[in-house]
Symmetry: D2
Subunit: 360 residues, 4 copies
């Protein structure tokens, strides 16, 4: 099978680096273009990048010449790790020009016809692409977003609980420094310190969560009807966002029932077959003190969500703890899984991987 060329917007940034790291050896996609700021443009990627992940950038990408943000692209598929400002306009332009853009930026997430895609949860939201194309007159292009990295574990954990009627939701997060990109959080602000504030994230949690858990009603997504309150904190860990969640469930299931719902949860077909999909999207840990950030963030190669400590909450009914890897599943890895779903669903033009290639 010929791999599909992909372009990375914001390739020298922290999210862009994760895209490149995770796409190394990907069975379907191949990094063909890297797009950076004017400071990086025209230089070999390996020289332009200040690689902040482990090791060094893969040789195959290190030798690519960085293109400027305005450059015309040839890759049908574009992953965006752009900051909010440049993302807003450029992502739409590229989609209009015929590229399928899978973005991790927050800029266009809440636009009504942009799917906020989490394959296990709302694979059917890709139908918004048809609506998007119709409405905007696009043929091959599309714009698909993945969510805020803190909303993500909440949505994953709630996915199999929607059946019980989630009426109230309280979230208090403990977020890793990598969530702020690079250079991001100054070390003097976080070493031996907690910052009880993450700009913008409480609002994102209180809105994106509901859109992702929503359902089609006619041609648009009807948000989940739940009252949400979020408080976000920054803590001195490298990767992995923990959320303390309290919820009210109308059906009042037993604790065992909820745990079983989590353990048995799989996304709808073909999601479990996708190359980046974790074998088990939700892993419940029975130990009293888990999940822990460092020890559990890499579960399922960083693509699974770990849950633990389900117990009664005197106020809302139930409380538990969930954890996801914020720069893998919560960012670049999430976008890649989204694109894999689009490929199988036929949204990437003529590129359609044989589903049995998946298990290779």
């Amino acid at each position: 099978m010929q791999k599909l060329d992909v372009a990375i917007l914001g390739a020298t940034g922290a999210v862009g680096q994760r895209f490149i790291q995770l796409l190394e050896g990907h069975p379907w996609f191949r990094v063909a273009e890297v797009i950076g700021s004017s400071r990086s443009a025209e230089r070999p990627y390996g020289e332009a990048v200040n690689w902040v992940l482990d090791g060094n950038p893969p040789d195959s990408v290190a030798n690519l010449t960085v293109k400027s943000l305005e450059a015309e692209l040839t890759s049908p598929l574009v992953f965006s790790g752009l900051p909010k400002e440049p993302a807003e306009i450029r992502e739409v332009e590229l989609a209009a020009a015929g590229h399928v853009v899978c973005t991790n930026a927050s800029a266009n997430r809440m636009i009504e016809d942009v799917p906020l895609l989490l394959p296990e949860t709302n694979a059917d939201h890709t139908r918004l692409i048809d609506i998007q194309r119709d409405k905007r007159g696009w043929t091959s292009g599309a714009l698909i977003a993945n969510s805020n990295c803190t909303a993500m574990p909440v949505v994953m954990a709630l996915s199999p609980l929607r059946q019980y009627g989630v009426t109230k939701l309280n979230v208090v997060s403990l977020q890793a420094i990598s969530g702020a990109g690079y250079p991001g959080v100054a070390s003097l602000d976080i070493l031996d310190n907690i910052v009880p504030y993450v700009s913008g994230d409480e609002h994102k949690l209180e809105t994106e969560t509901l859109k992702m858990l929503g359902q089609f009603e006619g041609e648009s997504i009807q948000w989940l009807d739940t009252i949400v309150s979020a408080a976000c904190t920054r803590v001195p860990v490298v990767d992995g966002h923990i959320v303390n969640v309290s919820i009210s469930l109308e059906a009042e299931p037993e604790l065992d029932e909820i745990i079983a719902a989590w353990q048995e949860f799989r996304g709808p077909e073909p999601v479990p077959q996708l190359p980046s999909a974790p074998e088990q999207p939700l892993v419940y840990l029975s130990q009293v003190d888990r999940p822990q950030t460092r020890r559990d963030r890499n579960t399922g190669k960083g693509m699974a969500t770990s849950i633990g400590r389900l117990r009664r909450c005197p106020l809302l009914g139930y409380k538990f703890v969930a954890l996801s890897h914020n720069t893998i599943r919560g960012a670049a890895g999430g976008s890649i899984l989204n694109a894999e779903l689009l490929a199988v669903q036929g949204y990437l033009g003529t590129f359609q991987p044989a589903i049995n290639a998946v298990t290779a």
Copy 2:
């Protein structure tokens, strides 16, 4: 004025060390006896202790010979930093033997006639001492506890809000490693890690909080009638516990009103005059990202509680963040302030410091 001799139980432990550090140069009290485990007994304190605070133990205490837990004590006032097990029986024995015991241990906190004292909040709870003495036939002895170090900032912040009717309370804590004593948390368990569990603390928050905020009804304390839910996490900071608090208030005051109530809050007389009392017990910070653990834990020499981020909560009505120094106000410093109150109220026998000595 002749200073009052005090004894420190558990003097070589982490809390015991804080007692010794904070009592150095105290205007009323003087460390005369240090009590340790059998391993330390009969050795000079300076040799027996593995000093884990900054610098070295004060010379005046370093030369004291450590006494065993069974030793008879001569000091009228005893501070206890004992672990739960040995505390349970020994503290009561010493009180029965005529000592006033101010304990930081959890063992006897919830006994009905033991005041769980926080002077600014419930100075009148010391009346339980009279009941205690009557009931148990004690004359000079008494047993007084201070609370769990995570419940403490919650109680402080709620003290001036009781007037509005606190009906619901949700707390998610981010607790420092020093809260677990020494050696306490293994570094492999907390470096680049979050542990979403602190043994016993959720239950303490859900009970001690209500007792402390309670009021006398006849001869006993009627707990505050509030539904509480707590989730406790351990985070990699040295000192300082942060709590994310959500509350419902019957009277629905404006945010400004609440902030004013905090800023103007002072304990009842003579609390503001006590040597260890902070000038302002509750300090509201207007910056959007405060209080922060490292930057605000030492406010008021570690005896004040910092509060910030008061805002509306879609679920409960109000939410905010509070911070206290867990081993100063939340442990040793809290016990010392309690003993100062007892001294002025006349519970320390003939020792009664002139109130104008306070300002010296």
Copy 3:
């Protein structure tokens, strides 16, 4: 090929856990017996262990019943992650009873007929096993040690420099907390702190280094004749020991020559073919600020040594920085590589893996 049964001594400890983690899926060896303290004995491993590595113990091992230290063992190959005291006698007993014991403990390292094995450096030191067997009357048994985890990167980096005549060596280490095992370093001792002392390690660096770099002279190892000085510090990182090394080289090579010697260095045959051998044992990084602990410790799956910053030293001639993963190459992984070498060299009885099985 039938895999060889191996037993893990100290299986519930931190090093024991690494053995189990690294042996999961090993092409030649299979964990058949796990040996723990009396507290763990007779319990399923999965229950007895407090797993401190990422995730959970592999299922295949979790279900094994922990044996006591005195139990007779059936596995021909034994890996020891015992503390010093129990290691000293038990390891010799097991070797005498016919087991090949590959130990990570320090207890028996400096015994004259025990090879202190680092395959790329001194694969021929295994000849000591013949001497050991002759002298002690052992037939199938043997005792082989790997070195202290801080000496290891120093020896690796010096291996290809022996040709230039190393006359002086100064080492200052920055060692990770995992080097002290579990619970090991208390978090209060290392968070926002440096401890400029690691018990015993300076002596080990000043002796083990020379034995490992030594050469056979008749029937024993002649230590390298170099003056060594070491200073060891403990720093707040999870894994990875950095050493700042200064050396004098008699032949006074150019810097480029040294870098080439490192880059081209491979162990003697069959070392590069062994399953756990890194493709490139020494990786020189050209960036001015590398190697860095977190970013480079996993190079070569934690089995390679990263080197950087080679420059002139006004005092000794040359200085540079080296880094190894202390619990992989510096402990369990190093022992496993040693055992692989022994297998191919025919020291594991009739078990002799086909060398082309290696690449599988």
Copy 4:
């Protein structure tokens, strides 16, 4: 006594903030002017500054209006916490305009007629001010520097050892993040990480150290004649630089002799009388694992240097560990002590504090 007005250059930066914090309540000096970048100019200091130290800026300074770097100043004494570039020219201009400038910047340190002042070590180097004024035609102005924050503890520790003839010196540093200013080190670069490189510091250690320990020969300073080698590393601690030092001493004193020399070391008169001078400049700790960064950095209010672990070095003769607070004694506090010396020596015009005011 009327306090002397002082101006702070770079007042909103990390070093500038320390100047302001340490000058709060100073017996001789009063912050009258704060100078910032164009972004901060004309705004109240309290609004312009992003205060990164504990708590909040003192009220007295918070209300001052920030002046631009080009503004004319009225304060006779100027403390500079400027970055290197702007410092180079502006500091000389201000000295030429009649201000005594005590700078913490590296820009002008190595100019021949600029004293690199450390009062306990080289109080007589202030004679360079006379030479400076003569040569440059300045009357009241002067430019005085303090050293790099890592060279400082080395120089302090060597000061009383010059009598033994220091012929060789090797230094390996472990430097705190605050040494890089704010925002300085990105948290992703240092959490669970060591960076074995600090731009420029090795060269500074190898030169500034020798100038500071030098002696007047005619009209200029003859550098100490010692071979120096330095390696610098950045470690995840907030404040406090540790140095591992090895030295050769011609006179080969006993270890006890050296320890006594450290313990008895005091600066020449009037240094011990200065308000910011620590009672004991060098504190030797006998514990085997001290000094430790967090526990000992505040010794002598952050103005003393802690030393420990003196032992024989097989290579150079002696080795030990030293620690200083890099942003107090190693930066702002050092400059303030320098200015106090200048005041008593009569270099601050008519301002000459009564020496008995010192003890107040």
